[in-house]
Every structure is written in structure tokens, then in C-alpha cells.
């Protein structure tokens, strides 16, 4: 069957099987930033916006998405022009294997749209269903808090180094990386 989707502002007609889930359909259509880490909509890796609401795409039946507007990680920044959340993730070394990261950034975007100045607890609550095996969440939480500051136009509070090499960071013995208080 065919369904109509608006994906990242582009209207598309896509062919789906009745029991396809939205994550599979998006991936088959080239949106491979949508990741799949589990079997049943519990890891958060496949999060996308469906009509402005964050959903785990693997838990959405594709036929039910007919007519909806989808935004995936591919719609945020580009490599040369990162979205502030993406930029903060890079600057804070919040990315390791990266597999969970697109879903986490989508969730962070949704959080910061509603709550521009979140507390650490609110950030943790927001990404509570974005499982990450690599980071222990410490740096992603720091990155999201910093992204909030950046998006509100405040000075970056990154103490974990920026995208530029900073000579004052040369001595790693003074480097405690603690920016969460």
C-alpha cells in the first residue's frame, strides 16, 4: 500500500507493507540516522518527531502514520552547520559509539522547546527512555544543559573543552570535567 508522509519538509509517497513499522520505512527511504537498538520500542534509538511529538518510530505502525509530518535527525543541523544541541554534544565529548545519539538529540530538542532552562533532573527525566551503554549519561546531560544555555543566547559554560583546541587545557591533571553543578 502507499502512504503519504512529509519527511523533513519534503512530501513523499512511500510504499509500505501493512505490518511495517515507521522506523523500517524511514530507514528504507534513506533516513538511516533513525537507529534500531531493541525489538519493541524501549531503547529510544529510533525516536523521531511525528506531528511535533517525539515517538519511537519502531513502535508506530507505518499505515497509521499516513498523512503525518515526520522530522528525523537528518533535519537538524548539517555537519558544517550543527544545531546548537549537536554542537554541545560534540564539544562535551558526549558521543561515544553514537548509536543512541540521534534519538537522544531528538528528545533533547523537544525538551528544550518546552523547557528552555531545564534543571539537571528535568534533563535526566527527559532522556530516561534513551538508553546509552557508552557514556553513563554524564556528558550527554552536561551537553544538553549547555545547549540550553547556548540556545537562550547565554555564554557557553563548557569546561570540557570546545571544538577548538584550547591551550589552557594542556595539563590534564587539572582537568576534572565537572560541569554539572
Amino acid at each position: 500500500m502507499e502512504i503519504k508522509l512529509t519527511i523533513n519538509d519534503e512530501s513523499k509517497t512511500v510504499e509500505v507493507e501493512p505490518d511495517d513499522d515507521l522506523a523500517t520505512v524511514l530507514r528504507q527511504n534513506g533516513y538511516t540516522g533513525v537507529k534500531c537498538g531493541c525489538d519493541s520500542g524501549v531503547c529510544g534509538a529510533s525516536k523521531v518527531f511525528v506531528d511535533d511529538e517525539v515517538k519511537m518510530a519502531c513502535g508506530v505502525d507505518a499505515p497509521n502514520a499516513d498523512g503525518s509530518e515526520i522530522r528525523t535527525i537528518e533535519a537538524l543541523g548539517t555537519q558544517d552547520d550543527l544545531h546548537p544541541i549537536q554542537e554541545a554534544f560534540v564539544d562535551h565529548f558526549a558521543v561515544q559509539c553514537g548509536f543512541c545519539i540521534p534519538g537522544m538529540i531528538i528528545e533533547a530538542e523537544s525538551l528544550l522547546a518546552d523547557t528552555p532552562d531545564p534543571s539537571e533532573a528535568e534533563v535526566r527525566e527527559a532522556i530516561d527512555d534513551n538508553l546509552c551503554r557508552c557514556t553513563g549519561y554524564q556528558k550527554p546531560v552536561e551537553a544538553i544543559l549547555d545547549a540550553a544555555d547556548r540556545m537562550r543566547g547565554e555564554q557557553s559554560v563548557a569546561a570540557d573543552g570546545g571544538s577548538q583546541i584550547r591551550p589552557d587545557q594542556a595539563d590534564c591533571t587539572d582537568h576534572d570535567g565537572d560541569t554539572n553543578e
Binding site: E17, D19, R27, G30, T32, G33, V34, K35, C36, G37, C38, D39, S40, V42, C43, A45, T72, I73, E74, T78, L82, Q86, F89, V90, F93, A94, V95, Q96, C97, G98, F99, I101, I105, A121, V123, R124, E125, L131, C132, R133, C134, T135, G136, Y137, Q138, K139, D160, G161, G162, S163, R166, P167, Q169, A170, D171, C172, T173, H175, G177, N180
Partner: protein
Amino acid sequence: MSDEPTDPQTDGGTASKPTSEEPTEFEEHPLEWDEPENNNKAPGERDSVSQPAEKFDDRKLVTGQAKYTADYEERFPDLAHAAVVRSEVPHGRVTAIDTDEAAAMDGVHAVLTPSSDAVPDAKYTSAGQSYPEPSPWDMNVLNEHVRYVGDPVAAVAAEDADTAAEAVDAIDVEYEEYDHVVDPEAAFDEDAPQLFGEDEVENEIVGHDYDRNRMSNIEGEIGDVDGSLDRDDVHVHETEWETIRQSHAQVEKHTSLAYTDEDDRQVLITSTQVPNHTRRQLAHLFDIPIRDIRVKKPRVGGGFGGKQAMVVEPIPLALSLAADRPVIYEASRDEEFYAMRSRHPMQVRARTAVTDDGRIEAIDLYALSNTGAYGSHGMTVAGNVGSKPMPLYSKVPNARFEADIVHTNTPQTGAMRGYGAPQGTLALEGHLDEVARDLDLDPIEFRQDHYMEVGDLDEIAGMMGGEGAERRIRSCGLDECVERGKEAIGWDDLEQPDEDHLHRGIGMALSAQGTGVAGDELGAAQIMMNEDGSFHLQVGGVDIGTGADTAFIQIAAEVLGCDENDIIVKSSDTDNTPFDYGAYASSTTYISGMAVKKAAEDAKERILDWASRMLDESVENLETRDGEVVSEESGDSVTLEDIGYESVYGHDDREHILGKGTHSTEESPPPFAAQFVDVTVDEETGEFEVNELVVAVDCGVAINPGMAEGQVEGANHMSYEMAVSEGVTVDERGRAEVSDFDEYGLPSATETPPIESILVETHEPTGPFGAKSVAEVPTNTVPPALSNAIREAVGVRINEMPVTAEKIKAALDGN
């Protein structure tokens, strides 16, 4: 993840303490290391190393552009999808497989059973280790004798994943079921059901006794432990500990894509930590020349040891040969929990002999390791239960370690971050805490009196490995780790909650790991210069999401004096990158990184030679810096770009500037961690809350401090899980009771306490620019530190992981 190279019993399994008549062992580990001057740069002199260089793949990762194995699907229009029929019985023999219906289904391209031509019948081990593998060859790609619920029995390839799943459902397997055993102690019993018959194992490992389901027994001793335990001036303490079956739970599932390329060679794009080992193992298994197999690793979504194994690759390869088209196999999350690999659950007994004044005369550890249905990494992981934690206390004169590694009809185990050290560290650090309390000693000073320091010859590390496996300690930041950790957690001024029923306590634990497997590692790299002064760095080292590729770039940039962006790294493609043992044993930065450094130095020598001719200056005056070669003498300079063009298009002389480096070493310096856990316990309910984790790590010089901290925090999170989660529990038929993440206790963001990572810099002269390993040691320490914290807070001891409110409550109630 580390492993021992060979049979540790070749010398009888015990290495006696060296005496003055045996000076050779000391000469192998000289006190003074002949370190090149350029390897030791003061912090202010480093341009790229220990700077927060951007992780080179981050922009791709945060924009969803990075390609993992499954993302290659779109490049193969005729790609078939694999699915696997797995044993539903814990132990038995397949008596019949009916594949007719599946084979006749539309869209099914191949159906394989154990007797199919495309399926190798050779035995092998899935462990991705060096050759000859120190793991038994005890499994088949598809099995007739099945040994756990999850053993692969048949496989299909179909046009899409749904059809493959339907075909799997249509296959009918009949079993003759045998008795099974799930409990490791019961499995060790003489009348227990036996998993392996005669002739069912090749490449057996020392100490095997398959009549009793024992795949291996290992032991090592220095000094005289029994003699010390018998002394009448010592206190003998004995404690017992138990650890969980932990899943690697890497978010990217095991995924592997196999095809035949235009030159009739077999190619695997695969999510692996060990491309070269996988290539060799596939070649042996399928009887294909090594040269005709190519293993390419794209971005990998985490490994943690779960991919230090050829877990899935043979299945898509066999299917692609049978179906004559590309095949991808992506495990389901359910399969990840019941049919991939997990951390060996263990019971560990610790004994010490300690004098009245607090001198430890002997440490004795014994481990019973449950290796599950097969023996991959069984012996080597168990060896590390002793050989990683015990050397920390190198001042202890007598030490012994023994392990029995036992089969049960439960899911397979394998390598996992820490590689036996977490199990041993729980036992040893929990035990020492108990001894210190009993003898009324300060738990930190008690440890400090016995732990290693620079200059020590660590004989305990050699205990299991035989002659020459001792190590000289050349860097040790333990004191500073302890001091800074204490300060960060507030060790000396802990405030108690106002409520009477709440009690707060801090527990601590120390840990040492290794950096690569001493004498059993190889890394290699090459560098090619381009006309524009940029470089291609080709390296076998394997970045599985750790940032290793970025560390390689930084090391090369430091040597070449260029910008990180001018180095294009290509890693882990067996056709196009030099050899490497793979990402395990905390070896990548140290071994592969040193190979990169050597390759860069080799290229630099040629660069300086060209610069010397172009500037008419002697090489001695020249140095690379900021993309140029500069004369310290005249101040004249020439850019790398000018050299790049001149060397390739020169009028008189032409040369492609190439550098190569290969590195192997007998050294394996330990990194160190001091862990502190701050907990509040409710004495009425046993409920507890971990307020903070602090972990201070000596990893030598951190090549990229932000990435190193990330490793420390992620490892500590994994360690925390081992302390508070059930892991993968199994039912009475040995079937994993966890089938997706919502049933598995991976701590979420709200469930994870704040983690403060502290990097303590020391200089390790044997490592590239002073680096040693970082990513495993903080995996070892939370279980003992939490157990010690609970003990401090409310006076009860939890020895069996995970720590739960019920266990605390029961202990408080005296049950």
C-alpha cells in the same frame, strides 16, 4: 578485554618466586626504560596530545550520517535477510529438521541445516583471540548436539526480514531431549548431565575434565600460601562473593553483512572488535585462503567485548555462499540476551592471612566460573580474576589463585570489559574492607601499606603466565588517585541525614588492570603523504565507538606537527589497513597508538630529509610545527604542502613519502582506579540511594582528556549496573528470562547517580607520549565500593550481587 596467549600450565602452572640465582627475569624487566626523549613532553609542549581535539567522527554521528553495518543495506539491491532457528531445549540432539515448507516459500533464497554443504562441519571457538586460540574448539556453526536454549540449529536467507522470520517459524525441529544442568556447582558433580562427550572438543584447554563439565582448571602460586595460612601469628579471614551474568547490551546489535565481490572474494562488512582474527577464523572454518576474505569494520555501535568474538559472521557467510547473493544478519535484541554472549557469572572465595599489626602475609583467591554452554574466553577470563586485581598488592609475599571453569546448559559467555577483573576485584576489595574493620585498621592505610609503587617488580602478574610474565612498575598514581578521590567525595567530612532511620556511608575500592596482553599483541600502521601536505593514516586498530581513531590522529599530528584535520584516518579493513590484534585487553591506544607513532616518525624522517634539501639546512636543526618544517637555526621554514608537491613532482628527485610502524611489546603497564561510593541507606526498609560515584583514574597521559573521561564514566556506569542490577537471570531450563531492554536493568539516566571522573596524570614511559589504558579499570570497582559503603552506613555486608533493598533488610533483620 585481555587474554593469556597460551596454555598457562606449560610450566606446571606455578611460577616460583624468583631468587637471586635467577637474574634473567629481572633483566627482562629493567628498572630504567630506554625511553626516546621525544616521547616525554611536558604538558605545555604538547600541541595535539592531551588536547581536547574534536572526535573526528562526531559530526557524522550527531547528524545521523555515520554508517554502521545495517546502514550498508541500501547499497545492495539484491540483499537477503537472515534469520536463525535456535534450540528450544536446554540439552539434546536434533533428530529431524523439516525444512520443506520454508524452502518452498516465496522469497526464500536459502535454508541451511547442520548437514548442508555450505555449512562447515569443523569445530571452532567463537572467541576472537590470537592464534592458536586459548579457547576450546567446542562449537559448530549449526549444531545437532544442542547445549542451551539458543544454540543455532538452522538458518534461512529471504528477500526481507519478515519473510525470513516466517520461514524460521515454518521449520520444524524434533529433539531428543537430554538431562540438563543450570547450576554451576551441580554441574561439577560427578553424576551431573555431561555437556560434552568424547571427541566433541578439539584444542582442549589445560585442566579440562569433561566428565565433570570442567572446561579448565588453572592455578598459580608464589611463595607458600598454605604455610602462611597455618602460621599461629596470623588471623585467617575468609569471605565469599557472587557476581551477576551481565549482558554487554551494546545498543547496536550484532550485525554482519556478507557478499562475494567482483573479484570472487568473500567480503564481510561487520560489527566487530577483531577484524583480523575474524578473517583468520573464517578462513579456517570455511577452508578459504585468508587472502580471499576481506573483513571491513564500519562505525560500530559499541562492543564491550561482546564483539571480541566471531559471534554471527559464519551465518551470513554460509548463507551468502548458498544463496549466491549478499546476506545480512542482524540479531534481535531477544537473541542478544539469550543467544549472544554475557559476562561469566562467578563465585569467588577470598582468604587472607594477616598479622596482628596488619601485615598481609598471604592472599588466596578461588573462583568457580560458569562459562555456560561453550568455553569461549573461559580460561582466560578466569585467569584474570586473579592476575588483574591481585598484583595491586605486590608487597604481599605469598599469593595463590585457582579457578575451575564449568559448563552449564545456559547462554554463552565471553569477553566483557574488565575481563574477569570485576569478579576478582569485588572479592578482593570487599574482603580487604572486612579485614580492616575486623582488625580496626583504616581501610585506606591498610591498602596503602601493601599496594604497588614505581620500581616494584610485580611477580603476581607473572604467577599465572609463567616465566617472564612479571612486570616492572614504571608509573603509578595510586596515592594521588586516593587523595583526589577522597577529597571529591568528602571522605573526611560526611554529613549524616537528619532522619534517624537514614544512614550515610562512603565505601571505597581500588583496582588495577593491564594495558594489552604482555607479549601477545601486535599493532601496525602506515602513513602516506599527499601533495597538499595532508596524510592518509591507515591503521589496523579498531575504533568501536571509543574514539580510538581520534587518538590515532592526535598521536600522528603530534609527531608530524600538523593539524588534526590534515590527517585522514582509515582503520580496520583487512585489505587496506595493516595487521592488528583488535580492540581488546585495553590495548588500542597503547599498542596500535604506538604503531601509529612509529609510522609517523618514519614519515617525519623522510619529510625532514626533503626539507633539509629544500632549505639547505642539516636535519638536526629542523623540526615540524604548525604544518611547516622550521629551522631552529635560521628560522627558515618550508610548508608541508611545499614538501608534498616537491617530493612527488620534483625536478631532480621524486619519492612518495611513506611511513610505517609496527609495535609489539612484553610490557603491560597497569592503569589504576580509586573508587568512592556515597550511599544513604534506610535502616527500616533496606532501601538505599547512591548519592554519587567518584572515580579517580591513573591512565598515564590522557591522549584526549574528554574522551578518556567519557571512557571512565561509561565504565563506571557499567560497573554500577553490576552492583545494582540482576543482569540476565535464567529459568530452570537455563533460558534467559530477559528478552528486551525493558526487562534488563541497564540503569537509565534517572537511575544513574552523578559520576565524577578524575584523571590523574602520570607518565608511562613505555606508552605513546606516556599513555596507558583507561577504559577497563573503572569497570571493576563499584560493586565492592558499594558493598563497603553499605557496610559503613548500616553495618551489614552484602556479598552477593546485586545489592538490593531486600538483601539489606534481611541482613539488618539478622536473616
